[in-house]
């Protein structure tokens, strides 16, 4: 079998590692444009997967001090994501409140975990890192493959090759500036306007942190073609800019084109949730779950909503479904444990947490689980156990604020009790 057919087969069946290896050997023997392109594409796709290039929505809001692209620093009230961190400070007044408040964020860790799986690499530099992270692939020799590098823009091959080239430079080499150059050249040499180039320029500008230009490009692309990726990018950009109202507006526009479309709905729900509008968010999550019953983020969020809506039994059912359908993880067992606790299923509470501890590797999560265990201990009235749990929590992660505060409060309470006893004895 000819090597080029084998390469094509591997490429078309998306076995990129093997494909790259074969390309390497094939290119040593002879120069073949097609094989070179296949190699470039395979590397691009791998880098894109590693660098989360397929996710239009990124979850690290860009906090680059240097990008002062004229965004108002103080948003009008109600137009920005608000995190109420202030309550956590008043620990002395209401211990119970903080306990539940942190439990809330813990239960939320599950969705946070789901998101962190796809956390994107936010800046160009990180994208370039993704290129070097092409582990397992063919040995990456920068600058090696391209006869294309010297492809002039007059070449008749330039137009068909330009998109491949752009993605290669953008994702594999991580060179945003060069990628932009390609985009400009391609736009010049193509006689028809292509939404994709505007979209790609927006990607570049976004990587550079130039939001205004990103917005312009995306809006222009949207005029040319109503592609779902453009809507998602726009939403992501507004979320990154901390402008949820605009993001919601884009979601609405997108949903008018793509009715009941799950990625947009999820974005909308996430935004609503972050703005503290969880009832609306849950409504949207429910629509998502109907449309795509395998969406675990939606289910986890519905479960969480039920949990805080004082319906732990129902939350328990959602979490059990997640447990059945997903690989088991610490968050899910933790949430199950909390649900069991509030459903008075005492016999299952501790085993759930034990499982959670068994699965947890991250000190952050471990610490939080111990914090929750302290909560369990408190609700059984075992103050000493609670005390120990909190100590363990702090031993694992000394920066766990919730545990610090809880321990402090517990300490204060114990001291007060002791002094009470002493004064009682004195009487």
């Amino acid at each position: 079998m000819d090597i080029e057919y084998r390469i094509l087969n591997l490429y078309k069946t998306k076995q990129f590692d093997a494909c790259l290896k074969l390309c390497e050997t094939a290119l040593q023997v002879k120069d073949d444009r097609m094989i070179e392109f296949i190699r470039m594409r395979a590397m691009t796709i791998q880098a894109k997967v590693v660098g989360n290039g397929y996710e239009e929505v990124e979850y690290c809001p860009q906090q680059d001090e240097l990008t002062s692209t004229a965004v108002a620093k103080t948003p009008r009230p109600g137009t920005a994501f608000q995190r109420d961190t202030k309550t956590a400070r008043n620990i002395n007044s209401s211990y119970q409140k903080t306990a539940t408040a942190t439990v809330r964020s813990r239960a939320g860790t599950h969705t946070a975990g789901a998101r962190s799986v796809r956390t994107a690499l936010s800046t160009a530099s990180r994208m370039s890192r993704a290129a070097t992270a092409l582990a397992g692939g063919a040995p990456f020799t920068p600058g090696a493959p391209l006869s294309l590098r010297f492809l002039s823009k007059e070449d008749k091959l330039f137009v068909p090759a330009s998109k491949t080239l752009f993605e290669y430079v953008f994702y594999c080499e991580g060179d945003v500036r060069k990628a932009m150059e390609i985009a400009f050249q391609a736009q010049k040499s193509e006689d028809t306007t292509d939404w994709w180039w505007n979209f790609s320029l927006a990607r570049c500008y976004y990587a550079l942190g130039m939001y205004r230009n990103t917005e312009d490009c995306l809006r222009q692309a949207l005029k040319q073609n109503k592609h779902i990726s453009i809507y998602l990018r726009l939403v992501a950009m507004y979320v990154g800019l901390n402008q949820p109202i605009s993001a919601l507006e884009v979601c609405k526009q997108g949903l008018s084109v793509f009715h009941g479309y799950t990625p947009l709905l999820i974005e909308q729900a996430r935004i609503h949730e972050q703005m503290g509008n969880s009832a609306l968010a849950v409504k949207e999550y429910r629509i998502v779950a109907l449309e795509d019953p395998s969406n675990m983020e939606a289910i986890a969020n519905i479960g969480m909503y039920n949990f805080y809506n004082d319906q732990p039994e129902i939350a328990l059912r959602y979490y059990r479904r997640l447990l059945a359908t997903n690989p088991a993880g610490p968050e899910i067992y933790n949430n199950l444990g909390l649900c069991c606790l509030y459903c008075n299923q005492w016999d299952l509470t501790i085993p759930c947490f034990r499982q959670a501890l068994y699965f947890s590797a991250d000190p952050d999560i471990r610490s939080n689980i111990w914090f929750n265990l302290a909560h369990v201990a408190l609700s059984t009235g075992d103050v000493t156990l609670a005390y120990r749990c909190l100590q363990v929590s702090l031993a694992i992660d000394s920066k766990n604020e919730a545990s610090q505060h809880a321990l402090q409060a517990l300490d204060a309470r114990l001291r007060a009790r002791r002094s009470n006893i002493i004064s009682y004895n004195n009487h």
Partner: protein
């Protein structure tokens, strides 16, 4: 994700010989169709490399599942079925090879009882061509009803059309680099062609035929019927007739699936969050019925199967092995089966079912039975050991000798020598660099194996500098001598005349110990005797219980002759600041005079150390001295100290302002650069001159600010040194006179003057906390004062109001301390009186 799995029905994995050959399996080499000779169920045609196999799966163990297995002459690229010649009833099999295609007929010969049936191929047509083929599509092109035509896409993207065994025409596209799928739409007699520009183009058959002639004649642009710009590479296309007049085109991209009507109307688009591999669109019901449903099965890279109707996910389950091609089949005992082809050529037939196999990899949860007493015991042990660790009771290696015994350290200074090596960059500082003083550390270790590494760090306050601040040694073998040079580098006040040497020792157990040595710098390094010029403002008397000694015996760093000529009055000038200090002898009293407090401490310190030293050497026992100063002196001193603090804070504020400005400018610079970059790249290139001007201007301003910052930093350091000098003097005096040693130590710690170190000048911040503590706890401030003097939290320590409060606090502390000193003196006098009275009483 789903809890379901595809139910297994049949597989050829046992028939497959194991020889993993990467890339041998083509995804186009799976075809399911029904033939007249086997009309009871579908046959599955698979090719791997050049081996073609036809299966007819059934559950019967005894009968053979393989209808045919034949070695073809060349690699099989694609298998298609259809009616390729007009005169045949049965479906024919078209096999595409790189440079030829062959059409076969599957026949069955009834065998005898034992031998069973025999299946064989009868070749009908074989045709060769020169361009290497990639894939093919076939169908009744041009609406010819009698037979299917063949369209072969070659590796370079050109399309060749064939009718039976005759070549019709060829279309060349120059925008195809990697061949992408081509598909024929029967209902509109057109072709879907995917290009490397990631655009889906639809050409009618008519158009392609004409264009083939056009390409020969003139290079005229061929405009497609309609296009869709997908913006990603299309990996597979399938056309399926969904109603009497329309077909649907389903195209799979990298992360999206697109569904169009054949007139270009988009029906829907789905974005996946997995990487799709292949798909199969099928119809439930018949296309001429109105209620026909179009379903799409998509397989993912992590071997999952998703079935969508429109954008709604209907079913999701996992495969047993990842699939690169998927199709439906109708078998005798399994209507609606699922045929998948895996990478290594294994064909699986399965069906969807609901028998949930709950997450099997999650270990079962069991409540273990635990003995509470055992747990309690364990807990106690753990807590006991924890307590031990926390209280530091248990020294792990108390049996071993300490590091200090193993490693002998000797530190000394030598005579200042002329600095001959260094080139002087700054002329005005020439005098400073002239002298340098060697500091020598001698490490002796008898047993080198106990010591892993040694690090020697030299710490000296400005204006002194060391030639090397840190020296690392990997083990000490015998004796190591480390020589380091100390010299003056700036014109700041001398506040500390000792060099601190920190020796960090890591022993063989990994324990780290830090030892400290201090060496006194010779006075000739930083001052010279000069002629006296008149009176000075501040005077300090030092009273001893021994008669005065000649200065030449005390300031041994200078030659005796040099000092002799000055007699009882000696004036020293600092090399760095050119300020002077005068010392006089007067009976048992030494008199020290200076114009400023900052100048006193270095010489005073040195003098007193040498004086004590001298007396010790002379064997004078019970030598004591007392520094006399009056209230006015201390008042001035405290005043000066506070002044120094204020200046220091002011300079730091100025520095901060400059730094802020630099930050701003730097941001501005970056932004301008970015804008400029965009301008360079924009279409058409914009006017860059104003931006360039702005950039250059910003750059110039940046440089200016940086120079200012450097200067300001030096000023801050100088102010810090002055502060340290006066502070040291204050504490020195307090130490000499105050009684409550603990309090003095507290104050000294609070002042933490040693924390002013080169560029680290955040002294005020460090001291503020301690001051509040001392005021509140040591001096028992009233609540009102506490409130009044507490720093305003929302402002920085250096803010005007906080600085004021800070100064006030400092003043309070020192006032109280000195007040106590003078009280002490008074009470001492009283005590003496009382003692005298007692003596009197005794005498009486």
């Amino acid at each position: 994700m789903s809890i379901f799995k595809v139910k297994h029905y049949w597989s050829n994995d046992k028939l497959q010989n194991e020889q993993p050959n990467e890339g041998n399996q083509n995804a186009n080499c799976l075809k399911v169709d029904k033939f007249n000779s086997h009309s009871d169920s579908d046959c599955i045609l698979v090719a791997e490399g050049s081996l073609l196999k036809i299966y007819k799966p059934n559950l019967d163990e005894t009968s053979s599942h393989t209808l045919l297995e034949t070695q073809m002459s060349d690699v099989v690229l694609q298998i298609e079925t259809g009616k390729f010649t007009g005169n045949c009833e049965d479906r024919q099999i078209l096999i595409l090879h790189p440079q030829s295609y062959e059409i076969y007929h599957l026949k069955r010969k009834e065998g005898h009882m034992e031998a069973g049936d025999q299946n064989y191929f009868t070749p009908i047509i074989k045709h060769s061509f020169t361009r290497k083929a990639d894939s093919l599509t076939c169908g009744p092109f041009g609406n010819i009803k009698t037979r299917d035509f063949i369209c072969i896409q070659s590796l370079d993207g050109s399309l060749s059309f064939f009718d039976q065994d005759s070549f019709l025409f060829m279309c060349v596209f120059n925008d195809v680099i990697i061949p992408s799928p081509v598909c024929y739409i029967a209902s509109s007699d057109s072709f879907v062609i995917c290009k490397s520009t990631w655009v889906l183009e639809i050409y009618s058959y008519q158009q392609l035929r004409e264009s083939s002639e056009l390409t020969i004649r003139q290079n005229k642009k061929n405009i497609p019927q309609w296009v869709y710009n997908a913006g990603e590479e299309i990996s597979r296309v399938q056309v399926i007739q969904t109603s009497n007049h329309f077909s649907s085109i389903v195209a799979l991209g990298e992360r999206h699936i697109y569904c169009f009507q054949d007139n270009g109307l988009m029906k829907y688009m789905i974005k996946f969050d997995f990487m799709p591999i292949c798909f199969c669109a099928y119809l439930i019901g018949w296309y001429y019925e109105p209620g026909a449903r179009l379903l799409v099965m998509v397989t993912s890279e992590d071997s999952k199967l998703y079935i969508y109707e429109g954008t709604t996910l209907l079913w999701c389950c996992s495969f047993l092995s990842p699939a690169i091609a998927i199709s439906r089949c109708f078998l005798k005992s399994l209507p609606g089966g699922l045929v998948t082809l895996s990478v290594n050529g294994i064909v699986n037939v399965g069906y969807l079912g609901t028998e949930p196999d709950l997450n099997s990899n999650a270990p079962p949860m069991t409540n273990e039975i635990i003995d509470p007493e055992q747990i309690q015991k364990d807990l106690e042990i753990v807590e006991a050991s924890l307590k031990k660790v926390l209280n530091n009771n248990e020294d792990v290696d108390s049996g071993r000798s300490s590091t200090e015994e193993i490693l002998k350290i000797k530190a000394d200074v030598g005579k200042p020598v002329q600095n001959l090596f260094q080139e002087f960059s700054k002329d005005n500082n020439e005098a400073l660099h002239l002298l340098m003083c060697p500091v020598i550390v001698i490490l002796t270790c008898a047993d080198p194996k106990f010591i892993l590494s040694v690090q020697v760090t030299f710490v000296c306050a400005l204006p002194f500098s060391c030639s090397e601040s840190t020296i690392c040694l990997d083990g000490v073998n015998g004796t190591e001598i480390i020589e380091n040079q100390v010299f003056l580098t700036s014109d700041a006040d001398v506040s500390e005349i000792r060099v601190k040497i920190l020796i960090t020792i890591t022993d063989n157990t990994g324990r780290i110990e830090v030892l400290t040595r201090k060496v006194l710098l010779p006075s000739s390094l930083y001052c010279t005797p000069v002629e006296n010029d008149g009176d000075s403002r501040f005077k300090l008397r030092i009273q001893t219980n021994n008669p005065c000694i000649e200065f030449s015996k005390i300031f041994t760093d200078f030659s005796e002759d040099e000092l002799k000529k000055y007699g009882n009055t000696i004036t020293l000038a600092y090399r760095s600041t050119k300020k002077m200090v005068t010392l006089k002898t007067d009976g048992e009293m030494y008199l020290m005079e200076a114009n400023d407090f900052t100048d006193m401490i270095a010489v005073l310190d040195h003098f007193l150390i040498k004086l004590t030293d001298h007396h010790n050497r002379m064997g004078v026992k019970d030598f004591r001295f007392n520094i006399k100063h009056d209230k006015e002196f201390t008042r001035q001193l405290v005043h000066k100290f506070l002044k120094c603090v204020e200046i220091h804070a002011k300079e730091r504020n100025a520095l901060k302002e400059l730094e802020d400005e630099m930050n701003l400018l730097q941001k501005q610079f970056t932004v301008v650069q970015k804008r400029l970059l965009v301008q360079y790249g924009s279409l058409p290139p914009g006017d860059c001159d104003p931006l360039e001007f702005l950039m250059k201007d910003t750059h110039a301003r940046l440089i200016k600010v940086v120079h200012e910052i450097i200067e300001c930093k030096e000023t801050v350091c100088r102010a810090g040194n002055a502060l340290a000098a006066v502070g040291n003097l204050t504490i020195y005096l307090l130490k000499q006179s105050a009684r409550d040693e603990f309090k003095v130590t507290l104050i000294e710690e609070m002042m933490s003057l040693s924390s002013l170190y080169e560029l680290y000048q955040e002294w005020e911040e460090a001291v503020t906390q301690a001051t509040s503590y001392i005021l509140n706890n040591v001096f028992k401030n009233t609540e009102k004062d506490k409130e009044k003097l507490a720093p305003v939290t929302e402002q920085g320590i250096l803010s005007h109001i906080n600085l004021k409060r800070f100064l006030k606090q400092m003043r309070m502390i020192f006032d109280k301390m000195f007040a106590e000193v003078f009280e002490n003196e008074d009470t001492e006098k009283d005590d003496q009186k009382v003692i005298r009275i007692q003596e009197l009483v005794e005498v009486i």
